[in-house]
């Protein structure tokens, strides 16, 4: 998975060296990618983010689902 290659700097700019493509992310996206790299499942990511942020997990679920769709479209997973 290309997502494992992504390097994210302090400004939330992501870079995949083998593709030479850059991505702009926000804090939550960075957190999700780090959790993916740790091998967490989608459901585990939802639970983790919901717990850390205090946001209703059902809301987080919609956003994480949306995010996974987008990185799939980008060919990152």
């Amino acid at each position: 998975m290309l997502i494992n290659e992504i390097v994210i700097d302090d400004n939330n700019m992501g870079f995949i060296p083998s593709l030479g493509i850059s991505y702009q992310l926000n804090e939550t996206a960075k957190e999700i990618i780090n959790l993916i790299k740790e091998g967490k499942s989608k459901d585990e990511i939802v639970q983790t983010i919901a717990k850390e942020s205090g946001v209703d997990w059902r809301e987080v679920h919609i956003d994480v689902e949306d995010f996974f769709q987008k990185i799939k479209i980008y060919g990152l997973i």
């Binding site: 991505y23 939550t28 994480v64 987008k70």
Partner: protein, 444 residues
């Protein structure tokens, strides 16, 4: 951890320009004339049409000043079809506008508001004889569209035992495309002259005016100069040949607003002529070509006066990710309320600044119809459910052309000059929708 909806955008350096990154810019409108859009939707529901009396008056005064400072006798006639809400018409009537109507329904609406027949221009291609009779009896300014209408009016003149003052509507080549030629009589091929000759020979109607409406959303002020020149030349000729006294020329409407016509890539601020440019072209043509008495100058401006004073507030209901990666927002206002979205791109503004970077998005309405698209390509940050979007300009034709289709039509609010909101139309409800329906006994 402060939660933000997760966003990731591939960096496309082609998107960057000297104007900055489209990934961060957000158009924000949190209030209209000092009234919070969130408060408005909370109190009156969403979607919600909102009109600004202040914006109407500013625009009216700007346009009226442009003409009246150049010409001695100018009269505005409020184009009812552009927006015939009672309160909106009343604002224009209070400012000095008379009424321009194109159907018996609009005529009756103007009369109901207390406008006298003599202060109504009755236009349009479809005027039934019974309503022509009412208009003639009440002294309305009837603008003839076709030869059958001359016959009908002559019958009415016989019936009421008096001559009727009329004007004819003319069309012509003014150098613009498409040329509006379906209404009235053509000046260039002599049809208008022949129609006037026919009126003269009938001896029951008296020609007192010449009218034309050359099109809508006219981006070329010179076209109005051409129109005025041809109307004035016709005036000169028929005054000389038939002894008519043409009291007025009516140059119609069609001045553009700051809406963005689809397919036009320049900003409205660049391509839409100013009030002064329109006024200069029209009044110069009169002074240059008129012989005899100066006619009164009538204008039926609609769109340019009301479009920018109208807003449609709509709330985000849900979102989803499209297979091509674009974000789709489902809002509670669709093409049922913005029929004009088939021709115009609107400014869509957010109620506040949202965290996160913009991503390619589209905005869909609530209708179960694939064509229900309000914005096909727009860069938006991650929006919440119930985020309030302000869609602008939505003052012209949106209310009159709004369809009761699938959903109820919404409430409408006018914000007065003291920033106080007034409900000027209730939202539809089931009782209102089914009021005129009948169930045959056999089906019960």
């Amino acid at each position: 951890m402060k939660y933000q909806k997760p966003t990731i955008n591939r960096v496309d350096f082609a998107l960057a320009s000297k104007y900055g990154s489209p990934l961060k810019s957000q158009k924000i409108k949190s209030s209209i004339d000092g009234v919070s859009v969130n408060e408005l939707t909370k109190e009156y529901g969403s979607p919600l049409f909102v009109f600004s009396q202040r914006a109407i008056e500013e625009k009216y005064n700007e346009l009226y000043e442009a003409f009246s400072s150049r010409y001695p006798d100018v009269q505005f006639w409020w184009s009812y079809k552009t927006n015939y809400l009672d309160a909106i018409c009343q604002v224009f009537h209070n400012l000095g506008s008379k009424a321009e109507v194109v159907s018996e329904f609009e005529y009756q609406k103007a009369r109901r508001l207390g406008i006298e027949g003599k202060d109504i221009i009755f236009n349009g291609p479809y005027k039934q004889k019974e309503f022509l009779k009412q208009a003639a009896l009440e002294g309305a300014k009837i603008h003839i569209d076709h030869l059958y209408e001359i016959n009908d009016l002559e019958d009415v003149a016989d019936e009421i035992g008096q001559e009727i003052k009329v004007a004819i509507r003319c069309n012509m080549d003014t150098g613009i495309y498409p040329q509006w030629s379906r209404f009235g009589f053509n000046i260039d091929n002599g049809e208008a002259y022949e129609a006037i000759k026919r009126i003269y020979e009938g001896k029951k109607l008296i020609l007192t005016g010449l009218h034309s409406h050359i099109g809508t959303f006219m981006l070329n002020a010179n076209a109005y100069g051409q129109e005025t020149k041809k109307l004035i030349e016709l005036k000169n000729r028929v005054e000389e040949e038939f002894g008519y006294n043409i009291e007025y020329i009516d140059i119609g409407g069609g001045f553009a607003s700051k809406s963005r016509l689809k397919g036009v890539y320049q900003a409205p601020e660049v391509i839409v002529p100013s009030a002064d440019e329109y006024a200069e072209a029209i009044t110069n043509a009169i002074f240059e070509h008129n012989k005899g008495n100066l006619p009164k100058l009538f204008l039926e401006t609609g769109r340019a006066l009301i479009d920018e004073a109208g807003y449609l507030l709509s709330s985000v209901f849900a979102s989803k990710r499209m297979p091509d990666g674009k974000k789709s927002y489902i809002i509670d206002a669709g093409v049922n309320l913005l029929y004009t979205s088939f021709w115009y791109n609107f400014d869509i503004m957010l109620d506040k600044r949202y965290d996160g970077i913009n991503e390619p998005s589209q905005i869909n309405g609530p209708l179960c119809m694939n064509i229900d698209i309000i914005a096909e390509n727009i860069m938006l940050p991650p929006l919440d459910r119930e985020s309030v979007l302000t869609i602008w300009p939505a003052g012209a034709y949106s209310v009159t052309q709004a369809m009761q289709f699938i959903r109820y039509k919404p409430s409408i609010v006018l914000i007065d000059k003291e920033s106080k909101a007034h409900l000027i139309k209730d939202a539809d409800d089931l009782e209102y929708i089914v009021e005129k329906e009948h169930m045959p006994e056999v089906l019960k």
